[in-house]
């Protein structure tokens, strides 16, 4: 019985340790996830806080100065939209009309300053609706 207790004790230590790791990791990595209309419908969108926003790349909105790192575009959902300024690499699946998740923060002008774009690599060309 003593051995059994010892095993349970070791097991408990592991569970507590793993739980602690999870908690610490969670605090540093939890990010709010909105769709464009949820965000624009809100009274006080979280300024400065890192968020993820899901929307569709609006037609005619993408401006990339060739040979630069900055990309401006708008993501929309229904008739709501949100301007985005992105710095850096753009995933290949980023394309007008595609669904994207943009990670970044809202600045004072209400622009989403993005540092990461996750584009849904639709394994299919869904005809634009």
């Amino acid at each position: 019985m003593l051995k059994r207790k010892r095993f349970i004790f070791v097991g408990l230590i592991i569970i507590v340790a793993a739980g602690y790791l999870g908690f610490v990791g969670f605090q540093s990595a939890a990010t709010y996830y909105y769709t464009v209309s949820e965000l624009t419908g809100q009274e006080s969108p979280a300024y400065g806080q890192t968020i993820r926003v899901n929307g569709w790349v609006a037609p005619g909105s993408v401006e990339q100065e060739p040979g630069s790192l900055t990309l401006r575009f708008t993501i929309s959902e229904g008739n709501q939209s949100l301007p985005v300024i992105h710095q850096g690499v753009v995933p290949d699946a980023f394309k007008v009309g595609n669904e994207v998740v943009v990670e970044g923060y809202i600045d004072q002008n209400g622009i989403l300053q993005s540092n990461n774009i996750i584009a849904k690599c639709a394994s299919k060309y869904v005809p634009e609706r």
Binding site: F7, T31, A93, K95
Partner: protein, 667 residues
């Protein structure tokens, strides 16, 4: 044409239902004629589903664009390998491929076990055919790959150019086979519960199946990582994307299962736990199939949304509740035959390793579905990003790796201190020397140092243990070292296959540690002739080029790479702008072709972000240390897995002999 495929599937569905029922009745009443007929039914399912796969492949190859699926995933320009891989490019096709793999595996296992008159087979076959019927229902009534369109597309919309990569030919089939294969051990486990044949029989029957499936899933994951690294052009190989996680979770639980069944075979322990593990593995495999199709989580891999979600959830729910319920009723017959004798024993390292692997899988599961939980509970979606997964899993995986080293050195039952010291001394010394030399060469992060030393320790201890075994054989049999090594490998394939797998995991770990702690990156806008530098490298942007091919415009930039002033060569990252024939007015797909200068020490990874006509271009440059070791480790993993899988010459299915001495322990 499409109709033919559909009718064949309908017949397959009928045959699957018949076979499932006939197997169940035959197994129950012991009617050999009925079982024989059920077996023919199962074979018919395989032949019919094969036929419908052939119809779809034929339609793809002959450009039958009246079928919606063919028009959506291929075009007249698509080359033959990618026409065939169109089979698994989309939702309906990959489900058909799933169903075909399951019918293939079921047919193979049925005929493999036919001669031995396996008592477990009947119910196992019932479960396999029920699962098959479920997938056929999806194919017939929800995601029909043979659906025709009123409007026949003239040229087809084509495969997404991102998918035109050799990875597309092997990654999805390996991964899917890795999911599907777990149906076999699951079916045998449930059959063992139903028939109350709860000895080692079912474990002996499924060990090699599980190993093969585990290997396919592992290889599929690594190939996926390699594909992402080479093709997706963001500089990394693993993003903790929900669908990547979906492939990793069943693999982790199956790893635990492969280890804990050794405990049952040798010591008669952990019987309930083994059942739980295989039930979880199979449920997670189905969950993975579900995740890619439901659209409930945002992922780079999503198929377009479909009505499959609720059906999959129902199937997973029934599987989990049914099998765990059954397990509960049989719990009294699954008593352990032995007790843990000591904390310092191979049993306890296995148990610990099991808990850690399942714990890691649970943490990943939790992180993956957290957005769904938080939305249900608080009404807001909260996602957890890569830092969560890294922080939780980093220490867990390091502990698993440490145990990998320890358990090889610790004997079964109870280890003597003297033996331990003898086994540990040299590897420990080597690890300390490694640590000191790393500090001298400038490594300072304690976490990375610890991780490297730990991996080094385990690497050395496996090699040392192996060396000792070879030496013993050399002494006893008077063989030279090479022959002793070779013969030993042949005598106990599972054991040495396992060693090689462990070495592979360590190389993988070293690659992951190096590339996640010491990667550096830089973005820059350069005019022609300008340079940028990163670590030792200086890159000079020399020229751009642009040319058109039939289907795309290629923009490339040439950079000269110098290391401390010495010219190493040129790197030419490209961007391909595909023209969309189907919809000429819409924007075509862009494919980034990165340029990588790869050595065993590190990869120099260059992405062309954009270039203009005036000679200005934007780049992202990364230095990823030790990445190649991940792929090399993957190679070892596959090699070792195959060796362990290779049939043993002598008895394979002997029952456990009580307290057998000697070193026939599989490892």
């Amino acid at each position: 044409m499409g109709d033919a495929g559909y009718i064949v599937l309908l017949l397959a569905f009928a045959a699957a239902i018949y076979s499932a029922i006939a197997f169940a009745l035959g197994g129950r009443g012991g009617h050999p004629a009925l079982t024989e007929s059920a077996r023919n039914g199962l074979l018919a399912v395989f032949i019919l589903v094969t036929l419908s796969v052939e119809v779809l492949v034929f339609a793809l190859v002959t450009h039958d664009f009246s079928i919606e699926y063919v028009a959506s995933y291929s075009s007249r320009d698509t080359s033959l390998p990618y026409l065939i891989s169109g089979l698994w490019a989309g939702n309906a096709g990959s489900l058909l491929f799933w169903a075909w793999l399951l019918s293939l595996f079921a047919a193979v296992v049925t005929f493999q076990k036919r001669k031995s008159g396996h008592e477990l087979l009947s119910y196992a076959a019932t479960i396999l055919m029920t699962t098959e019927a479920f997938f056929l229902i999806l194919l017939l009534w929800v995601a029909n790959p043979f659906r025709t369109m009123a409007f026949v597309h003239p040229d087809g919309m084509g495969l997404n150019p991102l998918l035109e990569n050799p990875g597309m030919i092997i990654h999805p089939p390996a991964l899917l086979a890795g999911y599907v294969g777990f149906a076999i051990p699951f079916a045998f486990a449930i059959s063992a519960l139903l028939t109350r044949r709860l000895g080692d029989e079912w474990i002996v029957a499924v060990r090699r199946w599980t190993l093969l499936t585990w290997l396919l899933l592992g290889a599929g994951n690594i190939i996926g990582a390699w594909w992402a690294y080479m093709e997706l052009g963001w500089g990394g190989y693993w993003a903790w994307d929900p669908v990547e996680n979906a492939g990793l979770m069943p693999w982790l639980v199956a790893t635990a299962f492969l280890h804990s069944i050794m405990m049952q075979r040798r010591r008669g322990m952990l019987k309930v736990w083994n059942m739980v593990l295989i039930i979880l593995t199979f449920s997670l495999a189905i969950f993975g199939t579900f995740l890619t199709r439901s659209g409930i989580l945002s992922s780079v891999h999503t198929f377009s949304e479909s009505g499959l979600g609720p059906l999959f959830l129902a199937f997973i729910g029934i599987t989990l509740l049914g099998s765990l319920g059954l397990l509960y009723f049989r719990r009294k017959e699954l008593k352990s035959e032995a007790e843990m004798e000591s904390l310092v024993s191979r049993e306890s390292t296995f148990l610990l390793n099991n808990l850690l692997l399942v714990g890691a899988a649970f943490a990943i599961f939790f992180g993956t579905i957290f957005p769904v939980i938080s939305e249900a509970v608080r009404g807001v979606k909260i996602t957890v990003g890569a830092p969560f997964f890294n922080q939780v899993n980093g220490p867990i995986f390091l502990a698993v790796i440490l145990l990998t080293g320890l358990c090889a050195l610790i004997g079964w039952r109870r280890a003597s201190i003297k033996n331990l010291v003898r086994g540990f001394l040299w590897p420990l010394a080597a690890a300390v020397i490694l640590g000191i030399s790393l500090v001298i060469s400038g490594l300072r992060e304690w976490y990375a140092l610890a991780a490297f030393c730990l991996s080094g320790f385990v690497l050395f201890s496996i090699l040392y243990q192996w060396f000792r075994e070879v030496k013993a054989r050399h002494r006893i049999k008077a063989e030279n070292y090479f022959k002793a090594f070779w013969d030993l490998l042949g005598v106990n394939k599972p054991r040495y296959g396992g060693y090689i797998v462990h070495l592979g995991i360590l190389l993988l770990a070293i690659g992951i540690i190096g590339s996640s702690f010491y990667d550096v990156e830089k973005e820059a806008v350069l005019m022609q002739g300008e340079s940028m530098s990163l670590n030792n490298y200086t890159l000079t942007y020399e020229s751009t080029d642009q040319y058109d091919t039939q289907s795309k415009t290629v923009v490339s930039a040439t950079l000269a790479v110098y290391n401390k002033g010495k010219l190493l060569g040129k790197l030419i990252p490209e961007k391909h702008f595909h023209r969309n024939h189907a919809q000429p007015l819409t924007e075509g797909a862009t494919v980034t072709e990165v340029a990588i200068r790869s050595t065993l020490q590190e990869d120099l990874y260059v992405i062309l972000i954009s270039a203009d006509k005036n000679g200005r271009a934007a780049f992202k440059v990364l230095v990823n240390p030790l990445v190649n070791w991940i792929w090399i480790g993957g190679g070892f993993l596959v090699l070792g897995g195959l060796i362990a899988f290779w049939p043993e010459r002598q008895r394979q299915a002997t029952p456990r002999q009580p307290a057998k001495k000697g070193n026939r322990d599989e490892h």
